[in-house]
């Protein structure tokens, strides 16, 4: 019989945030997941399998690139990029889905489901669905299906069923709710691969553990190259999985300044942004206690970002904790700022970044000037921007054959 839990246990909490606030029908599955993961994380075969897929399927370690042209253009600190865009499927998301797929296999589940905003997590889940022969279903808001059509097609090609969600704002928040409902119905044969460091315990811990490879690799690579650590590390934050993965390598290095960049959208009014750290209040969303953008009645306010991947009114509970302790500084960049940075990075460095990451670039541009030439900034390039080209072209008025 499983060990009985009591509310006095603080496992799964990050300071005041985290925990397991999910419907009772899911609780036993979450406990099973926690127990399985606790065994697997110490299991040599599991770690060996994970390492095998990281090296031979994802293509890890991902390179660390010195962005010479951006450094010159911005005229300040040296800019370094952790190239998660060069992973198989084009983003950091695959680090987590490979890991969770191995857990699902160990639990004997035959079906996997996922929510997705920008589609990168959906593609990464559909990929492991094909690789490990799971029946796969991906929930995606109708608005995101419009914005990220390419990724929806990729998921279908990989054999996944893509389910459009029209409730609420038809974006990531609603796709997450719908995935939780599906899981409640099919919990006996289905594993829900949560895509960010959100959701009820143990998901924020599991996802962080599979993403911390990003920061750990970066630290080694940077040290080898420069014989020191970077002065600042910058990553974009929606739910916050690439950021927590990156930050985790540097949390104990107090001299390294850590910056999370959220979507400032098109203004500071409710519904105009996804800046949870700036405008959120403590609340409960999707099974976790965290900062949530909500109104005076405790109703969750729809979020907005030009980037579907950042369009979420909550944030991972560990980020809420890191915000409260001040270890990580959270900033915002507007839609327009992200679009400008997107175009600039394309032209200057020859890299098309994800729109999510473009927020981090825009913030780093100012930070580079502020820190000056003797300092080093490491940016997590969380994914490539192929998925965003049609939407960006529409937004910047770029048509085929035009010169900008």
């Amino acid at each position: 019989m499983a060990k009985e839990r009591s509310f006095t246990e603080k496992e799964g909490y990050f300071g005041d945030f985290g925990g397991r606030y999910s419907p009772e029908i899911l609780t036993e599955a979450l406990i099973e997941l926690e127990d399985t993961y606790n065994k697997l994380r110490k299991d040599k075969k599991f770690q060996k399998d994970l390492e095998f897929y990281r090296r031979n399927y994802i293509g890890r370690p991902s390179p660390l690139t010195y962005a010479e042209k951006l450094t010159k253009a911005w005229g300040g600190a040296k800019i370094w990029l952790k190239r998660e865009d060069l992973n198989h499927t084009g983003a950091h998301k695959i680090n987590n889905t490979i890991g969770q797929a191995l857990i699902a296999k160990a639990m004997g589940k035959r079906r996997i489901i996922a929510e997705t905003g920008a589609g990168q997590h959906g593609v990464a889940t559909a990929t492991v669905g094909a690789l490990f022969e799971f029946e796969t279903a991906i929930f995606m808001g109708e608005e995101d299906l419009r914005r990220q059509k390419l990724n929806a097609i990729r998921m279908q090609m990989l054999g996944a069923k893509v389910i459009g969600v029209s409730s609420g704002t038809a974006t990531l928040k609603d796709a997450t709710s719908e995935a939780m409902r599906d899981w409640a119905l099919n919990v006996s044969n289905t594993h829900y691969i949560v895509g960010s460091v959100i959701g009820p315990h143990p998901f924020p811990t599991i996802v962080r553990d599979f993403q911390k490879v990003v920061g750990e690799e970066s630290k080694k690579q940077f040290k080898k190259e420069n014989d020191k650590l970077p002065d600042a590390v910058v990553a974009c934050v929606g739910g916050g999985s690439n950021a927590i993965g990156m930050f985790y390598g540097f949390l104990n290095d107090k001299k390294v300044k850590l910056y999370g960049v959220e979507a400032g959208g098109r203004g500071s009014s409710p519904g105009e942004h996804s800046a949870t750290m700036l405008f959120g209040k403590t609340g409960f969303l999707h099974g976790t206690k965290t900062l949530v953008i909500q109104d005076d009645g405790g109703q969750v306010v729809p979020a907005h970002s030009v980037s579907a991947g950042l369009d979420y009114p909550g944030v991972g509970p560990e980020h809420a904790h890191l915000h409260s302790t001040g270890r990580v500084k959270y900033e915002t960049v507007s839609d327009q700022g992200a679009l400008d940075a997107f175009m600039e990075v394309c032209r200057v460095e020859g890299i098309i970044p994800a729109l999510e990451t473009a927020h981090a670039f825009r913030f780093a541009k100012d930070l580079a000037k502020e820190l000056g030439k003797k300092k080093d900034i490491l940016i997590c390039l969380s994914g490539r921007g192929d998925k965003d080209v049609a939407e960006v072209a529409r937004l910047v008025g770029l048509m085929q054959g035009d010169s900008i």
Partner: protein, 268 residues
């Protein structure tokens, strides 16, 4: 004995319908409550609308959406509850709410005002017993004699039921099937055994909900359950007829009569 517990008896099964407050507006839902009680409701569950109801199916999601099209405030919820309570002071009222709106309002203030408004029990589907907040809320409600009604599901093992036992009062809400709220054609075959076990563990009345809609289903389950909870089927009547209040009232009352009359010990 709490007012809720006193509704239950060994000889008959209670009828517990549900409505979402504010759908389509706060005034009309007082009429819906009145019609359901006149039709035979023994306890009434009042849903507090929430933007992200992860435990609810499409019918209640739509009801919340309609309700939230009206400006939401907890004070308005409490005021409406008070009106329903004033009409039928002997019928226990129970809130079914997600945790965030009451956390945001403040436990103590909420517990106090809910009690004054006539609330005698609370059901919170996203607040499992093993969280720090449950302990705090439970104590706050207990001081006022308000029951904290817990959900037990087909996936809840015996050791977890024993954990829930310390925080449960009033009755147990037994979730008859996997998934979210909504009408279903079939009910799982081991339901009778599960409800029997749940009654033994808790020594509390056990009411069955999720998926029940038709009188024959309600009749069958009422053979062994102390109460029958129906949400989506009631809410569907409001969805389809809410724009014609007098017709909607009539249909709700007739539906309540048909369910209530089918239950064990309540046949007229």
């Amino acid at each position: 004995m709490s007012a809720i517990k006193s509704v239950f008896s060994d000889s008959k099964s209670a009828f517990i319908p549900y409505i979402s407050l504010g759908d389509p507006n706060y005034d009309l839902c007082v009429d819906w409550a009145d019609a359901l009680i006149r039709g035979g409701a023994d306890i009434l569950e009042l849903g507090i609308p929430f933007s992200d109801p992860v435990a609810d199916g499409p019918v209640i999601q739509k009801a919340f959406k309609r309700a939230l099209a009206n400006p939401f405030s907890m004070d308005k919820i409490l005021e409406t509850t008070e009106k329903i309570h004033a009409l039928h002071p002997h019928i226990p009222l129970v809130y079914l709410t997600y945790f965030n709106p009451i956390f945001h309002y403040g436990f103590e203030k909420f517990a106090e005002k809910a009690k004054i408004a006539g609330i005698q029990g609370m059901i919170i589907p996203d607040l499992p017993y093993d969280t720090p907040e449950t302990d705090e809320l439970f104590k706050s409600l207990k001081r006022r004699g308000v029951d904290l009604i817990h959900l037990v599901t087909p996936a809840t093992p015996l050791n977890r039921m024993k954990g829930i036992r310390d925080f449960a009062s009033g009755f147990i809400y037994y979730v008859t099937s996997y998934g979210v709220t909504g009408e279903r054609k079939s009910i799982s075959s081991d339901l009778e055994d599960r409800i029997k076990t749940t009654k033994e563990v808790f020594s509390l009345p056990v009411s069955a909900g999720f998926g029940i809609s038709a009188p024959d289903q309600a009749k069958e389950i009422s053979r062994y359950a102390d109460g029958i909870i129906i949400g989506s089927a009631v809410q569907r009547i409001i969805e389809e007829n809410g724009s014609n209040p007098s017709l909607c009232r009539k249909k709700l009352e007739e539906y309540a009569q048909s369910i209530s009359g089918s239950l064990r010990g309540k046949n007229s």
